[in-house]
């Protein structure tokens, strides 16, 4: 049962930004993540600013350059159902479809999805962990089978829970953020924050800032994309290992590649090692094998998640092989 809060339903973005008066004021959109966090008393909320009536933040439209602009309040279901998205950014549509459950996809927004809080059971549970201002990451010495193998900086080993985020990074999307100081655009790749930078934050959002839309540039000609997720059960589960690919081919050679992992690190994890290996090459068996091996080259598995090493290799191999076939 949630503690009480004051509630502010705004009619404009200006009102929303003005309403975000304290660090403990939270933005309410789909509510699927926030309300659960409040119920679990993970962090307090003195006020919820409901932006759900800001209809301007809803929907998908084409940009002048042939890309897409997705309003932050667009639900994951609306993403999955969008013919334009399916046609130009199939990997993103797949990723949205792999997230959560049908009902949660009907409720949850893309803005909320990229801002969601980690699912680490220590963070979500009654453990005063480092990310909640405590002194200890319980996962390093504890039950870490679902935790990170990259980017932990020996501070916090959450994995970023979002499925769409790695696909958005792969498509080189940009996040538009509005705050008290105005608007800024943040490349998706720089939107999430590693523990080394700030262990109590997951995104670059500052006090008073709201994600308003995500802009997808037009993919290069010949781009193929995919998202593949392995999980412990087939619905309603976060990634044990996920791979988002956006690969532009010229003829049978890779011209440009973006390879991003989910379930791997505290942020969507771009593996430039793999991108470098495949760029300029034909995706033949030997290139794919090298790429698969490079996926986990710098991984640092914990006591209970060593399986992620062969698993990421397997998924990378499987996905690059499928992509080579077209």
């Amino acid at each position: 049962m949630m503690p009480n809060f004051s509630y502010l339903r705004v009619n404009s973005l200006e009102q929303a930004v003005e309403g975000l008066t304290s660090p403990e004021t939270r933005v309410l959109a789909g509510g699927t993540d926030l309300l659960g966090c409040l119920r679990d008393r993970i962090f307090p909320a003195d006020k919820l600013v409901s932006i759900t009536r800001l209809d301007k933040l809803r929907g998908i439209e084409e940009t002048a350059d042939g890309g897409l602009r997705i309003g932050a309040l667009t639900t994951l279901t609306e993403l999955i159902d969008s013919p334009k998205l399916k046609e130009r950014f199939p990997g993103l549509a797949q990723a949205a479809g792999e997230a959560a459950s049908p009902q949660l996809r009907n409720q949850g927004t893309i803005g909320g999805n990229i801002c969601q809080k980690p699912r680490c059971w220590y963070y979500r549970g009654e453990f005063h962990c480092l990310r909640k201002g405590g002194t200890l990451c319980y996962a390093f010495g504890g039950e870490n089978q679902f935790h990170a193998i990259f980017g932990t900086d020996n501070k916090c080993c959450i994995v970023h829970p979002s499925d769409p985020s790695p696909a958005l990074v792969a498509f080189e999307a940009t996040v538009r953020v509005v705050g008290p100081k105005g608007t800024r655009l943040v490349p998706m790749e720089k939107f999430h924050v590693l523990p080394a930078e700030n262990v109590e934050k997951e995104t670059v959002l500052e006090q008073g800032e709201i994600v308003t839309e995500i802009v997808l540039p037009k993919p290069a000609a010949g781009t193929r994309s995919s998202y593949r997720k392995v999980r412990a059960r087939r619905s309603w589960d976060f990634a044990l290992a996920g791979v988002a690919l956006a690969v532009a081919f010229k003829g049978d050679k890779v011209e440009r590649a973006r390879v991003v992992l989910s379930g791997a690190a505290p942020v969507p994890w771009r593996v430039k090692e793999v991108e470098e290996i495949v760029t300029g090459k034909k995706l033949d068996a030997s290139t794919i094998a090298k790429a698969a091996a490079a996926t986990v080259k710098n991984a640092q598995p914990l006591e209970h998640n060593a399986y992620k090493i062969p698993l990421f290799k397997a998924v990378m191999e499987e996905q690059l092989t499928a992509m080579a076939k077209g």
Partner: protein, 777 residues
Amino acid sequence: MKVDDPELYYMEGFPVPETPAPGEDPKPWIETFVIGKPLPRVDAYQRVSGSAIYPSDVSFPDMIYGVVVGSPHPNAMVERIDTSKAEKMPGVRAVITGSTAGADLTWKWPYGNSKSKLFDPHCRFEGDAVAGIAADTPYQAADAAAAVEVQYKVLPFVVDERKALDPAAPVIHGKDNHVGKPDTYERGDVNKGFAEADVVLETEYRTECLIHTPMELHGCVARWDGDRLTIWESTQGVYPVQQDVAGVLGMPLAKVRVIGHYMGGGFGSKLQAGKYTVIASLLAKATGRPVKLFLSREETFLSTGNRPPSNMKLKAGVKKDGTLTALEFTCLGTGGAYQSGGISLVDWLIRDLYTCPNVRCECNDVFINAGCARPFRAPGHPQGSWALEQTLDALAEAIKMDPVDLRLKNIPLYSQARAGDPPYTTTGLKECIEKGAAAFGWKEARKKLSQTKQEGHIRTGIGMGACLWFVGGGRPPSTIVLKLFSDGSANLNMGASDLGTGTKTVMAMVVAEELGLKIHNIQIENADTGATQYATASGGSKTVPTESPAVRAAAVEVKRQLLKIAADELKTDVQALTIRNGEILSSREPAKRIKIPDLKGLKQRGVIVGIGYRGPNPSNKWVNPFGAQFCEVKVDMRTGEIEVVRFVAAQESGRVMNRLTYDSQVIGGITMGIGLGLTEMRVLDGNETGKMCNRNWHDYKLPTALDVPREIVSVPIDPGDTEANSTGAKGLGEPVTIPTAAVIANAVYNATGIRVTETPMSPVKLCLMLAERDRRK
């Protein structure tokens, strides 16, 4: 040394009334008109329309809401509780602790001899009750719970049963963490048996701890009316709850009324009252208001039972011809922080399923600082099956025998583990295996798989296994009152709960069969200690075989009186009268017929009342259900993902009472078995805190709609059990979940060559095992 079978659900050996009198038992049905048909449930409308009132739906205008404050530590002493802040919070009506007058009560833990306080100052597991609060809204109650200040002395803990006997482990009760002496069983001479064997295999197995998590939360609404307490509880048995509550509160049984018309699942976790039941009653008393107290989902993960983890070792010997020569089994288990049957029945299948002259079992139960076990759909059996069926699979391979044939070679006709070697009334085991194999196409599939070299990363495998369930025959006591009204409608009064297995529907069908009534003219009142007959809890897959003979007895008694009235009015011989479709007919004089509503004698009386009792089971024979299951899986050899493609379940549970609900039990049992095999495990933070990590349905993974096979074929085996009881029914709900996980494991082995000996077989485990094997190659 033979033993009497363990008593888990009920006792044997007391005199019970019998109707009809012994020797006058109704003969087994031969041709049936209603029984066995796939009829929709009699309460289907209520369940799909929302008009079924489950206990958590009960509401009163003056009702308030209760909450339990639980210990956040797995082992801690409560040194001080300050409730003053909570008491002053908005909407709060009562805060009770162990020092509140009337709340210093003794709590008896249900499966053993353990006792503690209701609010015990020593919290030996996370979530044990520390205080209770009632407030106007559940939100306010939760606010107040968060404001209760408890000063704990946090103690060292042990939450891993494998470490509970370490000298350094904190001792939870007594002088070490042993619950008692090891539970041992022995027949023959295992060493001799192993010496005779051509192949001996020894393997360690482990099954993880599972949580029942029925969809409806555990809890109740409690309401006082003077000195009478009425409780609407989500329960499998209203009478056991009555007994528990009356016992703790020191009240006369007759003053505690427990009602549970509907309930949203229990699977063994709702066979008795919880502390929450008593706390709700105390809060209702303190406030003079009805109190609704349902635990939160997270709390139910901590304190409402589990299928305990089992650490097993099985050594087995077999001759080349498939004769089992010896089985030696050890198990370390835990029921949690109090005696709760942590090893209960884990070894039963090793003792009794397959013919084997030399068997030795030793099971050790230890205490840990975790929530107590409760019976969980076929307690012990799926764990033992995980070890036994995988071992048989491995033995079959070692002697190059079809696993089906190995099992067929060792079919017992009597219960080897019970004193006196009682024969089974029927043993459908052989038929289950043979017919199941035929329906699955086992031989063909096996041949095809052995002849084709599988290419690519997706490999197909098949597996099988068999089972019995150690009870499932039902037993007394049960009383049924059946009222036939003058218009030909009937009211059936039964104490038992319908867990969703279709109990009520089956009982209405028995009445319809016997009295020729229309199903929709039969109304059932059940599960109310104040208004319905005595019944034991619905558990142990015994409800239909317990209640249906009593219902039939009551119907036979009504029929006797009815036909007497009809014979008088028709002036004909009662012996020649039968009932069809609400009409009484004479087989000798076709002109003599009368509809039930036209009987003047019945109209004058208004009603015929028949009382039926459940008589004793046959002496010197044993009643058990059997089964065999077969499955096909596809395994991704790179990622370790497993897809269960199809299942066949051939179950011998006596007479099929309703084919529709029968098949529902089958698909439900297999789905639950998939959870054990592939997705579910309790995770405790063993190093730092001992707290449960995955106390929610995101992290504790039930199978979803996408985790079940496309096809589950149910092949009922009914050899016609005329001795078990007067309806010939045996239990189904539990046997059908017993071998499922092991059957999947055997199929995974068949596909991959890797034997996964620990549940769950998720990519977390299998991906690593596959990779390690590839590396070794």
